[in-house]
Symmetry: C2
Subunit: 112 residues, 2 copies
Amino acid sequence: MLNRDFNEVTPQRVAEGITIRWVIGQPEGAPTFAMRVIEFGPGAIFAEHQHPYEHEIFVLEGEGVVRVSDDEGPMIPGRVIYVPPGISHSYRNTGQGVLRFICVIPYAESSA
Amino acid sequence: MLNRDFNEVTPQRVAEGITIRWVIGQPEGAPTFAMRVIEFGPGAIFAEHQHPYEHEIFVLEGEGVVRVSDDEGPMIPGRVIYVPPGISHSYRNTGQGVLRFICVIPYAESSA
């Protein structure tokens, strides 16, 4: 059985102050979608971008802001956020500590 | 933008002491997979079962045990658990409080 702490997965650097852990995906046999744990250090920003697949997000820790198209909203623990395919979005950590969230994507697109 | 606290979603009763919140799914426009937040009250057990789709789980709170086929492991915060399609599995809350976890499933199968 795959049952591990997310911290056991080696984080990969995405951009300045931002890492991703691919905690469940094709290497673990998952056929349809991949679960990742993403962390933003204080002040980290992932600039506006888009791609043809959706995000399903659950915020675990910290304080940030997500922008989807022209709409901004909070990223705080317990928030669930849906980013539709093909819509511009960005994230920024506005807190003093780490901003950590789960982000699930469909697997056919996940290597993009 | 869909951005809400998971508690804003009405929980549905699954079994004695067990509820599910469908926090992101087809009603929200998600085409591929659904994110649910599942809660087990103290002592709650979901007996062994199987289905043709996978689970990707992240444990948020509490203390429990997951059994997948003949293998048992802990459900504690930060654990990521993969349950492959077609494999028997069960869950039980072994702690004093709520056991809460995220469980993502592919959407084609999610109404089963």
